[in-house]
């Protein structure tokens, strides 16, 4: 509209320098003329409001823009209302229970209400390990929504049946394909591997690795030829991950090669065990051993450590007539510390961890051993070495345990809480910090149901309440009591979650 331009340009420069001239629109011009007696500035302002409002009043609605086809109908039953509210509550203040909730909702075969889809898509965007559980809950509406936002590309695939998963594998985004392969592998491991092999050469290195990781699920001898071929891959990351995976196949050619190499490096000599350092051969690199040592280690020592650490533990008895523990004891003193550090650093699969713990738990940092130890050995270690001691200020080992804890371990943990509670009541220890903070999401519910009805538990709670009611309590008692309450409420919440999510 030319008149608006005339009005604004005159206002910009000021009516003193640039007075308002004749306007095109007869209504505006009429207004301009009638306002002349009020002076130029008021004339402009008065005409301007009319001009702006005429524009507003005359505004035409814009035409349509292209739109997507609407979402297809959902196929699953909606989550019961109580469970929906529960999830809201978890999002607001108890995010650590969300994975368990998702698992339960998934098992029951429900779908999310549409109003909560975005919260779930955003959660999955940040928590990649939860995506497989989220996918089925999204149903048609959620997948339709995800197609429209690149940040939710992982959620566009459908893994609810083999058929749809195969389709996603063929046509989906990278993230959606990883999830599709994962779900195919779970039920049809051979088919998943064959699918992967058929596209292997055309996939970029990044994706080859993400796909290869999925073979960990349901790993078997049948995977060996393919994994072996991956040792010749162009990407270093793919090669070393293939080596790691092969080492988990007990009778693999890879393990045999490592065993043969390792046997050369520890020999029975006249004065006990003798150390022999290896020479470099190019096949070492193929099997995932790095030629260049890290800073501070000689290269031969580094190769020696890498080979010993990767060789299956079972070979030593037939080779040296010694157990791992005996080897640790008899290895020359100047090598011992080095040896221990290295099998922790370069070893795979925790072959040595049990022996190390038995040999001298103090000498090595628990953290590094635990990391390589299989779960059942970790449990045994904690039950033996930690639950036997009084409650400590900090509990640092819960992350060594996978979720959820099994019945017997949960029982020991709860017993340990009981005995700790008694100590808190009698001792004058000052502070227990957040001690058993994350027990609550891990403890087996059945163990809890039994425990909460035990006379010892009831009497401990009663005693704590009495002490607190007397107003003469130490902070440690109050802290302990609060954590105990929190533990109980959370476990009750978890029990309620199960009920709410019954199919």
């Amino acid at each position: 509209m030319n008149d608006l331009r005339a009005l604004t340009s005159s206002a910009l420069l000021g009516t003193e320098r640039s007075p308002l001239g004749i306007l095109e629109n007869p209504h505006l011009e009429e207004a301009r003329q009638s306002l002349e007696p009020h002076g130029q500035a008021k004339q402009l302002l008065g005409t301007a409001i009319l001009a702006f409002n005429l524009t507003r009043a005359g505004a035409q609605a814009s035409g349509k823009i292209p739109s997507l086809a609407p979402a297809a109908a959902d196929t699953r039953p909606i989550i019961p209302e109580a469970a929906q509210e529960r999830l809201q509550q978890l999002f607001a203040q108890q995010a650590d229970l969300i994975p368990e909730w998702l698992e339960l909702a998934n098992q029951a075969g429900f779908r999310m209400p549409h109003k909560d889809l975005i919260a779930l898509l955003e959660y999955g965007r940040q928590h990649t390990d939860q995506r497989q559980k989220i996918l089925p809950l999204l149903d048609s509406r959620g997948r339709w929504l995800a197609q429209q936002n690149p940040q939710w590309a992982w959620a566009t695939g459908d893994t609810s049946s083999l058929e749809t998963a195969l389709e996603t594998w063929e046509t989906g985004s990278k993230a959606a394909r990883v999830l599709a392969l994962q779900s195919i592998r779970q039920d049809n491991p051979d088919q998943a591997r064959t699918l992967l092999e058929s596209v292997w050469k055309s996939e970029p290195a990044d994706e080859r690795k993400s796909f290869l990781i999925q073979l960990q699920i349901g790993l078997s001898e049948a995977d060996e030829p393919f994994l072996e071929s991956c040792l010749d891959d162009r990407s270093k990351e793919v090669r070393s991950f293939a080596a790691l995976t092969l080492s988990r196949l007990k009778s693999s050619a890879y393990n045999l090669r490592m065993a043969n190499r390792a046997k050369q490096l520890l020999q029975n000599g006249k004065k006990g065990i003798e150390i022999v350092l290896p020479e470099w051969t190019n096949d070492l690199s193929r099997d995932g051993i790095e030629k260049t040592p890290p800073h501070g280690i000689g290269e031969k020592t580094h190769w020696w450590q890498s080979i010993i650490g990767r060789a299956p533990i079972e070979i030593w008895y037939s080779h040296l007539q010694l157990t791992a523990l005996e080897i640790l004891k008899q290895i020359p003193k100047m090598w011992r510390k080095n040896f221990i550090d290295s099998i922790l650093l370069f070893g795979l699969n925790g072959y040595w961890a049990n022996a190390l713990l038995e040999y001298d738990a103090k000498m090595i940092s628990e953290n590094s051993v635990m990391a390589t130890l299989p779960i059942d050995s970790r449990q045994k270690y904690i039950q033996k070495h930690i639950f036997s001691k009084p409650l400590q200020e900090q509990i640092y080992w819960t992350h060594w345990m996978s979720d959820p804890w099994d019945l017997s371990f949960s029982q020991s943990a709860l017993e340990w809480i009981l005995s700790s509670g008694k100590q808190v009541l009698t001792s004058k220890k000052k502070h227990f910090g957040s001690s058993f903070h994350d027990f609550k999401v891990r403890i087996h519910l059945q163990a809890f149901q039994q425990w909460k009805l035990k006379p010892e538990t009831l009497s401990l709670v009663k005693q704590l309440e009495q002490v607190i009611a007397q107003d003469k309590y130490s902070y440690s008692v109050k802290d302990f009591y609060e954590y105990l309450q929190d533990l109980i409420t959370t476990l009750e919440t978890r029990a309620a979650m199960r009920k709410e999510l019954q199919p």
Partner: protein, 436 residues
């Protein structure tokens, strides 16, 4: 007795933190006692103090009372209690004494409010009326002088040109706003404080804002020549407040209304809550305004997405919209939004603009619209037209609608719609709107 859904209850929360702490207290295990009658629900909740807090909710209008020290209203205990009531049936019991006392007190106060004011002697009435007239005259004089000065300032802007306006410091505008406050014209002062925003968004926006101010100033200068309702609009724009007590004296028929949507915006140190209602018989809109200064909580919220029966008294205006409620009774959750086409909505807006030329926004409900985006801007569109929307909830609207036609209620400001609620297959969802 009305049963609200948890979403509606959460819309009563004065802020998000009360809403989420309320949710935490919606677990019955956190309550020592719980009970209900036809009139009310109540409970005792152990807080950090020695004695548990006593919380009660009057079910006729969902007003809560609590012995906790929080100044929020309703407090988290009130919200928690209502949420429990929404999800499970509480045991019926006789209300405890503390609750009955409160309920009776409320009843009495409500009766006192509707009772005619205490009779004053003729002399007293005359005296107080005289004093009031005197005060008003003094204020009008002050406003008149202030507006004359402000009118000159406006003219000077245009005489000298507004090219430099975007680079003016904040104090440049603030001085003018402060003078208007001194002149007891807070409505204009508020509009002046928005000028820097207009200046930064372009010459057009700034000139329009200045021209709007000019229109109000010149209308005020010839106030007596205008119709009574337009006079009221001009006075409201300048910042004269309407005496609420006087409005409350009026009696209008009780009608059925639906609460449509709500938005809270921050204006300097003030939070303003706009709540929209629709008359279920004649489809007229009404707006309730509530204010809170600083961190003070909002009070007296109405649940959104419900039907209610109430006397609703409009503030005098050529375009009646702002209103107050007298004795609202919540009836039941509402299920639908009844809208019009985009073209009709624009016509409605034009019509409103012709009655109130400085109109900033107007409520509108649209039927059978699809939520769409071109990758940058989001729209709703019906069979023929599209309308730009401004909200942080566009993905939520997409999720709820699934690309199917829905009903949307919101505020239209002449360029885009700020959606405040959406109806999908007989269920209404609140939207967060967008802070302007």
């Amino acid at each position: 007795m009305t049963q609200l859904t948890s979403t509606q209850i959460l819309s009563l929360a004065p802020d998000t933190s009360s809403a989420s702490s309320g949710k935490a207290l919606s677990n019955p295990s956190k309550w020592k006692t719980l009970g209900s009658s036809d009139m009310a629900i109540w409970g005792e909740c152990q807080g950090s103090g020695k004695d548990p807090y006593r919380t009660g909710v009057d079910l006729s209008d969902y007003t809560a009372k609590c012995s906790c020290p929080s100044r929020k209203f309703p407090c988290k205990h009130g919200i928690g209690l209502m949420l429990i009531h929404a999800s499970k049936t509480l045991e019926t019991a006789t209300p405890p004494d503390w609750l009955s006392t409160w309920l009776e007190g409320r009843q009495k106060r409500a009766e006192a409010k509707t009772a005619p004011p205490k009779e004053q002697s003729l002399e007293e009435t005359k005296k107080s009326e005289k004093a009031a007239i005197k005060r008003l005259e003094a204020r009008e004089k002050k406003v008149e002088l202030g507006l004359e000065e402000f009118g000159l300032w406006l003219s000077d802007q245009i005489k000298n040109g507004i090219a430099n306006a975007p680079s003016q410091p904040y104090s440049y505008w603030e001085t003018v706003a402060a003078r208007l406050i001194d002149a007891q014209a807070p409505g204009l002062a508020r509009m002046v404080r928005e000028l820097p925003t207009a200046a930064s968004s372009g010459t057009n926006a700034l000139l329009e804002a200045l021209a709007r101010l000019h229109l109000i100033v010149s209308a005020y200068s010839r106030l007596e020549t205008l119709s009574a309702s337009t006079q009221a609009d001009v006075r409201a724009a300048v910042g004269f407040t309407q005496d609420k007590a006087e409005l409350m004296q009026k009696t209008v028929p009780r009608n059925k209304w639906q609460s449509l949507g709500q938005i809270i915006v921050q204006e300097d140190n003030l939070r303003v809550r706009r709540t929209y209602l629709e008359n279920l018989e004649n489809k007229e809109y009404a707006l309730l305004l509530d204010f809170a200064v600083g961190n003070q909580p909002m009070t007296g919220g109405l649940p959104i997405g419900v039907n209610l029966e109430t006397e609703l008294i409009y503030y005098p205006s050529h375009l009646p919209l702002r209103a107050i409620l007298k004795d609202p009774q919540i009836l039941e959750p509402a299920q639908t939004l009844r809208g019009i086409t985009i073209n009709q909505a624009l016509e409605q807006y034009t019509n409103a603009l012709s009655k109130l030329p400085w109109l900033e926004r107007y409520p509108v409900t649209l039927s059978n619209v699809q939520v769409v985006t071109d990758g940058t801007v989001w729209y709703i569109q019906d069979e023929h037209h599209s309308l730009a929307i401004q909200t942080q909830d566009h993905w939520q609207m997409m999720a709820l609608s699934g690309g199917h036609p829905v009903q949307v209620f919101g505020e239209y400001n002449g360029t885009h719609l700020v959606p405040l609620s959406i109806e999908v297959q007989n269920t209404i969802f609140m939207l967060g709107g967008s802070h302007e």
